[in-house]
Every structure is written in C-alpha cells, then in structure tokens.
Symmetry: C3
Subunit: 668 residues, 3 copies
Amino acid sequence: MKFGVDYYPEHCSKEHWEWDADKMQEAGIDVVRMAEFSWIKMEPSEGQYDFAWLDEAIEVLSRRGIKTVLGTPSPAPPIWIIEQNPEILPVNMQGQRLGFGGRHHNCQSNETYRNHIRRFVRVMARHYQNNPHVIGWQTDNELGNSHQQLCTCDSCRVRFHQWLEKKYGTIEALNEAWGTVFWSQTYSRFDQIPAPLPTPNSHNPSFLLDWKRFCSDLIVDFQKLQIDILREECPNHFITHNFMGFFDKTDYFKLAKDLDFISHDQYPMPFWEARLSKTSPPHLAMALDLMRGTKQQTFWIMEQLAGPTGWEVISSTPRPGQIRLWTYQSIAHGADTIVYFRWDTCLVGTEQYWHGILPHSRIPGRRYAEIKQTIQELAPHMDKFRNCLPQAEVGILFSYDQEWALQIQPHHPQLNYVEHLRSYYKGFFDANVPVDIVSDEEEYSRYKVLVAPLLFLTHPELRRKLYGYVASGGHLVLSMRTGVKDWNNAVIPKTLPGEFSELLGILIEDYDCLRQFDQGLRWTAGTEAAEEDANLWCDIITLNGAEMLAEYSREFYAGTPAITRNAYEQGQAYYVGTELRPDIMRLFIEEVLDKAGVGRITRSPEGVEVTRRRGQDAEYLFVINHNNAEADVAVSEKWQALVGGEVLQNSTLRLAPFGVALFHCPLG
Amino acid sequence: MKFGVDYYPEHCSKEHWEWDADKMQEAGIDVVRMAEFSWIKMEPSEGQYDFAWLDEAIEVLSRRGIKTVLGTPSPAPPIWIIEQNPEILPVNMQGQRLGFGGRHHNCQSNETYRNHIRRFVRVMARHYQNNPHVIGWQTDNELGNSHQQLCTCDSCRVRFHQWLEKKYGTIEALNEAWGTVFWSQTYSRFDQIPAPLPTPNSHNPSFLLDWKRFCSDLIVDFQKLQIDILREECPNHFITHNFMGFFDKTDYFKLAKDLDFISHDQYPMPFWEARLSKTSPPHLAMALDLMRGTKQQTFWIMEQLAGPTGWEVISSTPRPGQIRLWTYQSIAHGADTIVYFRWDTCLVGTEQYWHGILPHSRIPGRRYAEIKQTIQELAPHMDKFRNCLPQAEVGILFSYDQEWALQIQPHHPQLNYVEHLRSYYKGFFDANVPVDIVSDEEEYSRYKVLVAPLLFLTHPELRRKLYGYVASGGHLVLSMRTGVKDWNNAVIPKTLPGEFSELLGILIEDYDCLRQFDQGLRWTAGTEAAEEDANLWCDIITLNGAEMLAEYSREFYAGTPAITRNAYEQGQAYYVGTELRPDIMRLFIEEVLDKAGVGRITRSPEGVEVTRRRGQDAEYLFVINHNNAEADVAVSEKWQALVGGEVLQNSTLRLAPFGVALFHCPLG
Amino acid sequence: MKFGVDYYPEHCSKEHWEWDADKMQEAGIDVVRMAEFSWIKMEPSEGQYDFAWLDEAIEVLSRRGIKTVLGTPSPAPPIWIIEQNPEILPVNMQGQRLGFGGRHHNCQSNETYRNHIRRFVRVMARHYQNNPHVIGWQTDNELGNSHQQLCTCDSCRVRFHQWLEKKYGTIEALNEAWGTVFWSQTYSRFDQIPAPLPTPNSHNPSFLLDWKRFCSDLIVDFQKLQIDILREECPNHFITHNFMGFFDKTDYFKLAKDLDFISHDQYPMPFWEARLSKTSPPHLAMALDLMRGTKQQTFWIMEQLAGPTGWEVISSTPRPGQIRLWTYQSIAHGADTIVYFRWDTCLVGTEQYWHGILPHSRIPGRRYAEIKQTIQELAPHMDKFRNCLPQAEVGILFSYDQEWALQIQPHHPQLNYVEHLRSYYKGFFDANVPVDIVSDEEEYSRYKVLVAPLLFLTHPELRRKLYGYVASGGHLVLSMRTGVKDWNNAVIPKTLPGEFSELLGILIEDYDCLRQFDQGLRWTAGTEAAEEDANLWCDIITLNGAEMLAEYSREFYAGTPAITRNAYEQGQAYYVGTELRPDIMRLFIEEVLDKAGVGRITRSPEGVEVTRRRGQDAEYLFVINHNNAEADVAVSEKWQALVGGEVLQNSTLRLAPFGVALFHCPLG
C-alpha cells in the first residue's frame, strides 16, 4: 500500500460510492481506512449485526484495486450501551461524570464496556477474517487523547489499587517509595488511596506520577484486549493504531509493542490556540521522528492533513504546495504509506469543518489535484525506500516518565519538557543532521551523539548505560535538572548532578529558577563570540574536572560555568545548566557535532529542511522548503534528481515557495 | 404616558412615599413600574396574600396623577417555594444546581413552579383588574438573561424531548437532520437525547442549535402562561416585557408576538469588562433599532439609565448631559415613553450601587435636575411623534438562528455575529442613514437596500424571498459564510455561495480563515483609493458574471475579488467575502447608497448622530453629540428648532459636549 | 529562645538525628518546632499512641541545649479518620467536596473531627506536660489559609445559622439588617439561609460579609478548642500560632487574643505568580508591623525563609545576604525569636522544593554559613531589644471587615484594600517613619498621625473615637469611600462622607469610578508642584470648611478638590478622594508629617530601610539595603555600631548590596 484515504461511506448516500471509488482510483489511491466510528451502523441494537453496508463499500472499492483497513469502533459506544450502563461514562479530574454526545465517552477500565468490546470485536473479526480485500486493522482511534482527561471513576480507582499492589507488593513499600510520612498521608491498605481528585492543597508528586503511569498502562491494556481477539481471529491481518505525535496520555513506546507497526495522524496546521507552537517545521519533523522511534521502524501516516482543519474554529487553508510538502516530509522521516484524512468533507456533526480532499460540494478542486500530482510523482519511488530509515548518527532520548514528572512539577511556569527537547532538536534540524528519537530502553551505541535533556528521573540501570555509552566513546549531552530524582519521583540526597557528577566532572550546589532575576549567557569556547539571555533555570556549577564552554554573565554567579564538557574514558560528557536560546544553541550543536565527527548533509537557509533515508541500494535525499518564499540550496553533484530537482544549476537547487525535491544516490 | 420611573416603595420606609410622589410630580413623572421583585411582600407564605402596601403606594402616586404598571414577580420566587420544592432550582451547563440567594433561581419548565405562578398571577390580576390607576403589566423581568445560563435539569430535558418530537415527528427524521451517523450518535428514541452537559469531545452542532431554539421557545412559552391569565382577567390593561437589546437567550421577535408592545432596558455605560464594546454610540443606536424592529413598532424604555450602574463593580458617573442625551437617542429611535431606572438608590442588596435618580441620601442632585429639565423640554412634543417611525430606506437582517449557529461554530475565535452586523450598521450610522433591523420573516420590499450579513443558515423560502427582492429592484448585500448551511445546521453540498451563486454571479471554491496568515484588501472601484487589512476570514472568489469592487492584495490569492456586485434582473446583489474595516466599509456603503439612490440626512462629524422620525404631519430631526467636545453640524434651513437649536448660524448648529437638538419640519 | 529551626525528624532516617543536632548547635540554634503534621506517626490507628520517636528526638536535641515547641497535628487528619467519617472532608464554594491527599482536608466545624482533636490533643498534652525540654505549643498550622476556600458543608451551614441567631436574635432583625426585602429574599427561619454557593445572580452583600465573619470566628473557635485543653494540661507552656501576614481568612486580631504571643511565617520571595506584588520591601515591612500589631507586642517568626521556596513551581534562589537581611528586617519590626523553615529539605511529598537550610544532600552550604553568621552576630544583642517596640508616632488602621466588604464589592476591578493601605505605608516607609498597624479597637491617642484608609464600614463607637482623636489634637487621614456603610454592609442614607462630613469639612455629592474616563491630579499646596494620574476612583468634593491641598485636572470636575484638610478643634482631618500615585503621595505624607511634627530618622535612598526599636536603656537602629547594589546612607554620629557599621565615614554608611547594619544609642 502506498497512498490511501480515510473513508466514511456511511456519511454519504450510497449513490456516491461508485463515483468516489473511480475518483480515488484516478488519484492513485490503493487503500482506505473505514468503520472506526461506525458501531451503531454495524450493531444498531445489542446483538443485531449489520455488516452488509460495509461489505458493499469494501466490494465497490475492491473493484478498483483498493484494499481496506478496518477500525474497531470502540471510540464511539452507541447510546444503547450507555443507556443500560451509564457507569461506563468517564469521570473527569473534577469528579464530574461526562455525558453522551461526543466520542470516547467511556471509561477504559469498565468491565461492562470491555465485555461489549470483546463481543463486538470478535463478531466483526470473524466476519472479515476471510474477506480478501481486508488487509488489516486499526484498534480504536487516537487512544487516550480524545478523552481529554483520564477517568477518575470508582472502577479506575479499584484498578489503580491493583496496579499499585502489583508494583509495590506491600503498602509499607508504597508508603516508603511515595514518602507518605509527609503531611501524615501514610496508608494502611491499598484501597484507601484516592484518585487525584481536587484536594485543598496539592497532591503528593509520587502519587501523581504513578497515577499517570497507571493511566498509560490502562490504555495499553485496553488496546491489548482487542489485539488478542484480532490476532486469534485474523492471523493474516496486520494490526496498527493511529498515534498522535507528542500527545501525552499514554507511553507510545509501550503502546507500540503489541502492534505490527504504528501509524500516525499528522496535522501540521494550527487551529486551536494552544497548538500554534506545535506546527513549526522542526516540531513536525520531531513528531515524525518520535513516531518512527516508538518501534525504530517505518510507519504509516493514517491521517495526513488534506485541507483546512477544525471543529468550532478553523485553521488557515493549506497554501498551494503545502499538502504535497507535508507528504514529502512524512515520507522523508520514515512513513511508508500515506493515508489522507479524509476523502470527502462531512456535511454534519462535530467535524463539519475538518476538510477532506473533496470539499462539501464533492467537486474535486485544487487539493484533489495537488494530492493526485503528489501521488503520481511519488508512487513510482515508494517501494524503493520501503523499510529504509534515516540512519541517524544522533539520538535524542525522549521519556514519558520525565515529561509527566515535569508536568507535575514544572519548576518554572514556562518550563515544558517537549519544548526543551525541541530546542535541541531544532539545533540539529537547522544543521541538517538527522536525529533518532529514542526511549530510555534503547541501545545507544549506534549514535555518535546522544542528547538526554532534562533527565530528571533516573534509575541505576539507566545511569550504568549512560556511563557505559560515554566510556565506550559516545558523546553525551545532559541538561539542567539531571539526576535530581529516583524513578519514584523522590529526590536523591546527593549534590547534583547526583550520580552523574563523576561522568560530568562538575558539582551543582546551588541553582536559580529565573523568576525574579534574569541572567545572561556568554559563549566562551572557540573563536565565535555570542551572548544571549539564559532561560528559565540556571544551575550554578563548580568545575570538578570538566572544562567550561559558556559562562553566566550577570548576578552573583557571573563568570561561573553554564555549559561544560568532561572527557570521560573514551567519550565526552556535556552539561548544559540552563535552557539555551538559538544563537548559543547553534554554537553548542556545532561544537558537539565537530568533536564527535558527525557529518552534515549540506547547509541550507532557515526553514529549508534537508534529510534522507538510506535503503539497501541507494540513499534518498529530500529537500523541503517550508518557507512561503523561494529558496536556494547547495546540493552536491552526486545526487540525481527523481522529483523536482530539474532546476539544478551550479549545484544550486532553486525551490519554489513550499517547493520540494527528491534525489537519489546509489550506494557504492 | 410620557416619562416614568421604576419604583420600589417596599425598599424604603413608608414615610418617604408622599415626598417621593411630590418630587416625581415636580419632575414631570406620570407613570411608575412596581412590584416585579416583590413576591414575598405580596404572599409572605403560601396562600396568604397582602396587597395592602402596594394598594397604598398606587394610591399615593395616583393622587399626583401618576399611573402604575405592575410587574409579575416571577423572577424572584420566595424561599418558601424553593424550600418545598428545591427541584425548581435551575441546573447550569456544568450540571451544577444553583442555589437561592440571587434572583431567577428557577427552572422555566418546572410545572410546580408554573403552578405557583398560575395561582399567584391570577390572584394579583384579579386584585388589580378594576384598579383605575393600574394601566398595564410587565411580565417577569428581562426574561432569559439574568439566568446567565439556561437550565439543563431533567424537567427541561423532558420538555426538550417533547419539543423535538413535535418538530421532527420521528426519531429517524431527527437522526437524518442532525447527521447522528457521525460518531455513532444515532438515537432510537427521543428520550435518549441528553441535555448539552459536558462530554469528552464537542457536541453535534445541529443538536446544540436545536437546544438553543428550544430554550428560546421555552421562555416564550413561560411568558405566554402569564399573558393568557392577564388577558383573561385584565382585558383593558396592556401587557409588555422589558427586553435587553442584543442579549441572546431568547428570540425577541418571537417573544414580542404575544405582547401589546415591547419595552427595553437601555444601559449605555460599561461596567462589566465584557460589555465595554457594547456601549459605543452606533451599538446603542443599533440596539434601539432592534427593539423597534421586534414588532416594527414604537416601544417603551422601561429602564433608562439614571446614574452610575453596577453591582460589585461600578461604571463611571454619567457626564453632565449624558442622561439627557441618551433619552433623546431612545426617542429618536422609536421610544414613546421613557421610564428611568430607578427613582432612588437602594441601601441594601446586590444593587446597592445601581444608582437611581436620587442618591443614597435621597437629596435631589444634578441627575434629578437634568432629568427634570429633559422631561420639561421634551414632554410638550412627545405626543407629536407618538407612533411615528424613522421610515428607513435601509434594512439590516438580524437572525437569532444565525447568531446561535455562529456561537456554536465561530470559525475564527474572534468572529462575532453582532459585531459583524455592527460593522455595517456603523457604516450607515456614520453616513446618517436610518436603518431598520428586521427579522427573516419580514417583508423587505420597502427597503432600497437590504444588508443580510453572515447569512450562514438559509431555507428555501428565505432564498426565494431574497431572489425576489433583488429581482424587483432591491439592492442586497450579503457577506462571507452565506449559504453554507440548511436550517438544521447541516452543510449544503454545493459550491459556495450555494443557492446564492446565481444571484451573486460568483463562485467560492476555497476560503481562508485568517489564523496563521494575514491578508490585505484594496478598494478598486471608483476613484478613491484605500487599502486596509482583511479581517477574520477571506472567501476566495471567482467571478461568474459579477464585477469586482475590491481585491485581496497578498498571498496566493492576491488580485482575486474580495467584494463583488452583480446585476440581477432589476436589482443589484453585492457580496463581501471578508469582514471590512472602517475605511473600506465607508467607501463600500457610499457605493451602495449612491447606486440605490438612498439619501443622507446630512453629513456630520464622527460621533454626532443625526436621525429622524416621521409623523403624520411633520418630520422630527434629532441631532445628538456623543462626543465629550463641541461639534458643528450643518442643518438645512427647512428644519425649525424645537429644543436646543437656538445657536443655529449660517445653517450651522454648534452643539455643546454631549449636547442635543430637536427640530421639526411640517410635511408638505 | 533566640534562633530556631522547624524540624521534621520523621522525614529522615534516625541515623541523621545526632549529626543534625550537632550542626544546629554549631550554628547557634536553641529551639525547634516539631510534630505539627505528624498525627499518623503519633497515632497510627485510633487509640494506639506512639510518642517514642518524638520523645527520642526531643531528647537528642535537648542534649545540645535545644528546646522544643510542639505543634498540634490537626492540619493533617490521617486517612483512618477520613475513611470512617468522610463527611469531615471540606466542601468548597462550588459545592464540591474536596478529597484526601493534601493537608487541611477537614471542615473546621465538624464535631466528629473536633472530638478526634479533643481526644488526641489531651493525650499529647498529658504526655508532654512534664517534659522539661518542651517549652510551648503551636496550635495547628497557618489556620484558615491552606484550606484555600472556606467550607460550605451542611455542618458549617448549621453552625452559621447558630452564629446568626446569636448575632441577630430574631429572623426579623436579620431581614432588616441584610435588607432581604430586595429581590424577595426575606427569610422566616434561620435554617432557610443558604451557604454562599453559586446562584444565578450575585448574593446579598450583607449576607456575604456575615459569612466571612462567621468563617473567621469559626477558626478562632476551632483554635480555642485546643487552647482550652492545652492551658488545662500544660499551664507552664506558652501557646502560639503561626500567622501569615496579610492572608485574609481569619481576623488575626481576634485569633491573637487567646494566644500568649503570636508567631508569623515570613516568605519574602515570590513563587506563585499572584504573589509577585506581595514581596516588595514595604509590603514585607507592613506585614511584620501587622503581626506586631495583632497584640501590639513582640512576636516570633516561626517560619523564616531559608532557601528557594515552592511546590510545583519554585522561586529564585535567595541572593547572598538576603536571608541575613530578612532576619534583620524581622527583628527590626519586632520579632524576638527567629525560627528558620526548615532545617533540611524534604526528599518526598508536596514540599520537595521548599528548601531548608540544608540542601537535599544535607551537606551544609552557603545558606547554612549565612544563617550561622547571622546568628553569631545577632545573638549577643537579642536579649537587649527583647520586648522593646518601635515606638511609632504614626498608626495605620487595618480592618478585616473593611477588607472583606471591599472584596465583596471592589467598586473598581483593580481596587484592593491591602494595596491601597500599602500606598500609604510606602509613603511613611520611604520617609523612614515607623508605623504601627492598629485595629479599630485600638486606643489611638498615642499617635500623632492616624491613617484610616478606605473606612468603608463604620459604627457609632468608631466614629466617636475618631472625632475624639482629632478633637484632642490628632492628625487623621481618611480616604475615598469613607463612611459609606454601616457595620452590616448596608448603605447609610447620608451625603458622603456621611457622619464624617463635619469632621472633614467637606461634602461629596457625586463620585466617578475611573472605568471609562481618566482623571488627573494636581498638587496645589506648598511650593513643590506635581501632576499625576488619579487612580481607580474620584470623589467629587465640595469644600464646607476644609481647605484644598490638591485638585483634579480634567473632565467636568476639573479644578474641584481631590485632597482636603480641615482644622477640627485641636486637630487636623485630611481627606483623600482618590488613590494616590507615588509623587503626590510623597508630597502629601511630607505635608502631614510636618504639620503633625513627626520626626524622620534619616533620609535614605529608595529601597534602603531605616527603622528602630526602643528598649529600656537604649534605642537600636537597623539599616537595611534591599537593593542588589551598594547604597550610602547618612547616619548621625550619636549611633554606635553593633554590626556592620564599621565603614562609617563622614557620617556616611556604605552598605553592600543586600547589606545591613545595626547601631545603638543609649537613652539619656
């Protein structure tokens, strides 16, 4: 499968189906996803099943060679389920039971609801197990995230008690790990422990972290329920799930484990105010790299933006070329199959303005034409880079445990774990250096450089692994708040950076959260000078073997080190005691890359992304101009144009606004 | 009746009553409104009635020739009602039952409460049916609005089910109209449908629109309950209700139908932060025109500001002249009777700082003097313009259905239906062109120009009427998002402007919500050049017979039309694809007025309003200086001064800061 | 006792205790506070008591001469209490019951919980009544404030009814006092009265004020419960409680009455966004003066900041010298004993980042060194100024009733009672004039100047006292909104300033809340000219015997008086009709001080505080440089240096950034 669409035949009259299939075929579509919100159409009342409409839709598509991926409809329990057992409805963090009328109005621990899913998924799986046009399954939809908040109902609380008992064994062990001695919170039985509902003062941070972990595991378990049935009934079908990049309700590394491959929903246009910062080109690239990183494997885009998005409020319209550009970017970072969301635009319901390829009128317009062109120019090459990956020399460690712990205690109100990571990612992105996003369970030896920012929580095994990485010649970058806590969110009683002091050759006896006073940063290594503001936090560092790369420039700790480097056995260990702004980040990244001997693909102007995938026989170079203006990029002559590289002159590629180019180079 | 006050004799000691009545008489007051919050004084416990105090107050006033309008006290159910049946208390949109302690702590569908009202209103009506000093009734108080949110209790939900069943007949018809196929929301019985309480993701927009309509109809029904009794018992009394301008909880066109005439509460000073934008002179004028428009009939001001207003926070004090000015403005736009709120200033309770004519000390001050002067100079003329209206040549269509639909889906977070309308209204206001605000049920043929902005929802009859209006020579202005949806809030599957394409001679195949990118606008018609930013939204227009009046100036659709005009049979149809800022609005309004042959009364500086009412024998011209500075206006010699026009020189009228003048001109 | 630490031996392993005690002794610590959150450690299950661990900790400390103050652990009821009687959990102002997991998860009226306290406090008191190392008790912890909101549960509502019945006697008296005639809110029985839960429109302001008073009294009563037992069982121990400066949940003047002396928690670094304005040097000084003023007596600091503070977010780190500086400031304003919060830094729980003297590593660092130095240089002098007070010639009246009434009705959204007071306080602070903060029950005759800002509520006795104060030669400053209301929060029907008109020689017939229009202020007295904006509110004043000191400069009341002075018998009565900005405040304070003959200690640059305490034999002068820069101050030669005054040259003292100096001068 190369290119697909998300299709909702039930949203339109049957008379459109044949025409739809023709137009899909004309555009080069070879796969659709269907049915993930259509429970009531398939089971209008309990035990009465109706798959005829879906069978017919699959059949109509199959006659144009279009295969089907089916979604299990668990995100949308019908009213007849809720009516019988309203306790299935979820309870939010305010203790308020949420009602019917949206989607995902279900508690994920509720056994009554799980039994409905068990029954229905088995019936559906058996119905389609031998349908030759069905090739695989998507479990549910965007698990965890459209619930907005996790459920705090009694069923979840009971399951939390079981989860805690399994983890800690005895209540004494839990009391010790959480430090419940503080404020007389000691428990004598697991079933005394509350859900994190409002309390007069803040909850215990160790309790809150375990709650977030429990909720994440509950989602993994909720998915597993379906996967077990699907594996049993449909052994020849693949199983995937559509992830959502940096959404945070579940640990995607864990959710990925049970899947054949993961899928991702990529929406690069902002429409809710809060997401404006999450659609910059490096953020989009970083999200794709995280998706690849959940299994270190290529993936599908299950929902690729195909028009303006929005519910009550709407994004800008994608500029001509942007849908094509984002398709290239997805593939450049490891997507093997691109499914556009959605074929048509729904006339009714909450997503009336989540525009598909076709507008409300169903008359193909510029977006259909752009997607058709994109498929035509890319389809011939898709098989070549299938299963080939970017071969990054740099890894960035991403950890849900760190993110959750820093959400619970952000220190500075503006401190955000993902944004801190992105500041490093952008440094490499701007230097055109491919990056892998890796978990804390990964093997790091294949990376010349490993960046593990905000490594707030650590456990002995992780520390051993990082020492070993540097000892064997790795270049490790750690940043502020590293080594503060154990894995239970309790502080480790050592002078910071705690267990990392030896590795880093420094001591931190004081630190300064930048709330009331500001601070400056001065780059002191090399010949290029730079001075910028420090950001959010400053560790006040004493060298204990390390050398200084940058210093603070103001206040009582002016002149003390802000960035350090320590030679440790075969490798180098860097420490950055604050959050860097772009200029010093650029100098720092260059310093690290040079020292580690990491090559850059090429230099390119701001906003022009150059990255690559390496296959068995060739490397593929993607040049992507995210700017709404022309841009020139130097491209070495070894690269042969596949798409869009025709205008190469004097090794200079001129890209149109939002333009892209694809090159290849046979491996010698 | 010409001038009145809202009077609360129960708020002060009886010893003040005679003095109060004397001072009212001295100021020229001939009517009071009383009793609309005084249930507990009239029925201290169930079935024990005490009207003696009110009888006496009526009597005291009547001895000075002052008539009484009585309010039914349904906005303030006493504690003994709530205590017996706490389920009367309303439930807000968060599912939270609100308590006793304010006012309007009642669900409007609750039958127990309705029975209390039936009993009490009948007793009260019988008591006053033959009192010669009582002339009419006000139902309740500001219906809908002081509830803040509409009630979501079980009683309301059941009544919603009945309303839906009456509207749709079958649940299948409802499912079809709402598009419940989306997200498996299909219902099998009406009684499954929820109230719009919080749900994990957003509710269906068709459901939400019907909920708002139901709530509006419920208020109309709640008022009808009282009106039926009052008509039966008091056939010689008029019945009115005090509306609140652009408040949005009920469709005032519908609420007005059952009344003899409507009244309005006009508060032109901002005190809650959110209302700052709602007190500009054109907004105040537009609110008055809407009030007149609910029945296309003159009206009362039942509460005209008489001092600083506020509850916990307080407005500025009215400047000397402003109370007089706002009185003139109310009359200029169609008020026949002005009742000031309130006589004295309450020493206790929530409205301690909602200042009346008298201050807390009861010693008449500058506001008493100003109102007395105003009454003295206006009273002789009030009969002359009774029942005469402005005779506008321009209509602006206002529709609660559009407003509600755009509240549910504002598209751009800053898009606001009333503000969009006001941008047009201000164009006419600045040009001194009187405007009628009309409903979608109105006959439009009497207008040379009809502006129907944001005509988001349409039905076939409305479309036929608008085509007919233009065909017969009308000049119609439509704006962005016209023709998008049917009356059930489902999208019409046509290329925009949908059914209006032929009328407008354009096609809109793409549109751009101005979230991430900005856009400019360049006026291209006529000789005067202007360039301004586009605002909120841009329709990307293809001419299909129309001509271009303005174009976009930036981005990929630079040079495409933003404002168009199409000759259609005898008339002209304009389309404005974005929200206009003042300069281009001015040019556009002039273009439309000139083409349609609409006259302006005169030219005046910004903030000086010139408008008129036309009676049987004469026209009356009101010149109102909203500025805190002197202003000069040219006034033709045909106008003869009635008030304040003495300083006329060379046809130039010099107005003091906040000054006014009144002229008349006998009709030939 | 001179210097102490708050100590939580239960938060760390017993192996640290001996070392901790050694290090405390080394630093000069002679007292600790313990146990106020340790209920579960002392009573792990109902009736099973375990004081062994605490006995041992007291013993270990006593061997280094360190005495113990014990806290009663009522702020942290264990889970076994809550589990048996969940109705103990408090209900917030939204009607939401708050859960276990923080602290202060208890309703203060609940009798079941009170019985647990009665039982436990008696057992604990008996256990320690004869322990020679225990010297006193702290009741609970920061009563009222960590509840965040006061409880609205049924138990509290019943107790509110009792409180009201006791206050008003009959329901008719309550109806009259509250003005329940407004909006038909008249009650027939006390038990009909609601808690102030959400209602569709705002509650009655008299009801709200009584609720706040009731809640305050409930806290006083809740503390009394414990005090009665402690007095009975431990007649030789002192009893104190840790107050929180300008926190507002309870009337500290009343809470102080039952205590031997009060204590205060002083946290001069901002970390929650909202508190940024509450850590300026004059605000810190004013808070200390209020604390002294609650009993007009010296006090303890029970929690003096010892490091960065914070829970989820963290403050800046204290600059070198700041902990010392704030210790001096506390003593300068009347603290006799300084207890630092806390000894170590907790590794677990909500307060992991509320840093103690020792960091997480327990390795003494710069903060330990600074505190050790501070104690060493101050300890020799502490006995000399014990029980000696600043001997202020100026008093500022602070009243919780005014504050609560203005919270209920702030008039202008930015009007804040404490900030208004602080604008005056800062005037005296900048002039180095010591101030007492006094209640409305105080005797004022000892002050040359008394400032009673925003005296919104008054009662006859207070008015008599203020007239008498001026008549006898006092200089009284009153400001805007004085005399508006009676003590029940009902408006007094007089022309403002009501009963103060004669005293002030002015009348206020109009006023202008600065919402829509601005206003300017021009100083007209004396020779120094100044013009500044008026702020928030303007009284429009007619002179009736008074003279004008400043006038308004804009709008229709330009040229009318803004500040006035009236000679009344032997004294002077000033009125300030608006909120002053710094320049005119400075001129006004100078005018008042000169007229009243109040001396200033010296002149000093902005941010350099100079103040003093006067003992039996000598005066002590504290010079405190709050600036992060050097500063020079003139110090008369009569002062002899005790600490830090060595660099005196030509009577000029040069202070380092955050530097301090202490002088003394024997009383002749």
